[in-house]
């Protein structure tokens, strides 16, 4: 498996043998703490995405300007994303070869990639200005797309453990 003609198996084999992979394999407690931090940052991503998107859909915090909600949530989203990526790399390193053969791992990586591109290339540039200048339909479409994307990231991530 890999992107196009590039087989990524050697990279995954290297991940499992490097220091990070060895720490994750040898110290169950450290691995579990990594999992726990991963879950908490997932919750924070969930919170920031939900608050932002439900505000754009006029479901919560309707009496608060949406610009304020979006800007504040984005700061914490970036922090949570950094932690989730760091802990995710650590966790995947310990079981890298198994991950390489797991279709849900690839589904998650793909949806995560799309999610990150969506946030930084579409959602953030669009929402940086005054929201009253943007069509309500566009705002709602962005919110629904964002909710669906991040739900997919979380759900495929959870299913990695079951397959």
């Amino acid at each position: 498996m890999g992107w196009g003609a590039v087989d990524l198996l050697p990279f995954f084999e290297w991940m499992e043998t490097n220091l990070l992979g060895q720490i994750g394999k040898s110290y169950g407690g450290v691995y579990a703490v990594g999992q726990s931090l991963h879950l908490m940052s997932l919750a924070m991503i969930g919170g920031t995405v939900l608050v932002t998107d439900l505000r754009l859909l006029n479901v919560v915090l309707r009496d608060v300007p949406s610009e304020v909600v979006v800007d504040n949530a984005h700061k914490w989203f970036k922090l949570a994303l950094t932690i989730i990526l760091a802990t995710g790399i650590f966790m995947a390193s310990a079981v890298a070869i198994r991950m390489y053969h797991n279709p849900f791992f690839w589904a998650k990586m793909f949806s995560l990639f799309v999610g990150i591109v969506f946030v930084f290339a579409i959602k953030r540039p669009l929402l940086r200005g005054k929201h009253s200048d943007i069509s309500p339909l566009v705002l709602r479409t962005v919110a629904v797309a964002s909710l669906m994307l991040w739900f997919t990231v979380a759900a495929t991530g959870r299913w990695i453990g079951f397959s």
Binding site: A32, S36, L42, I45, G47, V60, D63, R158, W159
Partner: protein, 186 residues
């Protein structure tokens, strides 16, 4: 005495056909577990935003009571689904879970988090008008928010650790661990 009562109850649940059916159902069990984790995003996500506002770390130009009250409903909704799916997960594996040291610590932390939330809301509602527009909440509420974040971090961590069998009763545990886990049978 208490451990025996808890174990008897767990064994009674375990003897029910629905308990083993749920445990053995690949899709149903995994759906319940996934829903439990995904609703954590709703509940804990909202809690993070409220606590961070109290600590003066987000939305400081919005009255604290507005953030807390508006996000309370989705937070309670998330908690309700998380609680129900949590009960179902316990129902599916009752004997091992009852004798899990991590589950027991998680239970104590959950009660502590519940008490802290009750105290927090009481304090918040008492004199909210006097500090509502301040970027940072008064000290007791800040402590309450920090404690809330710490306790829930503990709940998430111990919840995750239930899956590990390091201290399961069939292992050669120290007396303290065996006592804390309430080991009565393997």
């Amino acid at each position: 005495m208490l451990n025996q009562v808890l174990l008897d109850f767990a064994e009674w649940l375990d003897s029910q056909s629905w308990s083993s059916a749920l445990h053995e159902s690949y899709y149903m069990y995994n759906w319940v577990e996934s829903t439990h984790v995904l609703t954590l995003m709703i509940f804990l996500g909202m809690l993070f935003v409220i606590d961070l506002r109290m600590l003066g770390l987000t939305m400081t130009n919005i009255p604290a009571s507005i953030v807390a009250r508006r996000l309370n409903r989705p937070m309670v909704l998330g908690f309700s689904v998380m609680f129900i799916t949590g009960l179902l997960l316990y129902y599916a594996v009752p004997v091992r879970t009852t004798q899990s040291i991590w589950f027991r610590i998680k239970f104590v932390l959950l009660i502590a988090a519940g008490l802290n939330a009750w105290l927090f809301h009481r304090r918040m509602n008492q004199a909210v008008a006097s500090w509502d527009n301040d970027p940072v909440a008064p000290k007791p509420l800040r402590y309450g928010a920090a404690l809330s974040l710490t306790l829930w971090a503990g709940v998430v961590t111990t919840g995750r650790l239930i899956a590990y069998d390091w201290y399961d009763c069939y292992r050669d545990n120290s007396e303290l661990i065996a006592w804390a886990a309430g080991c009565m049978s393997e």
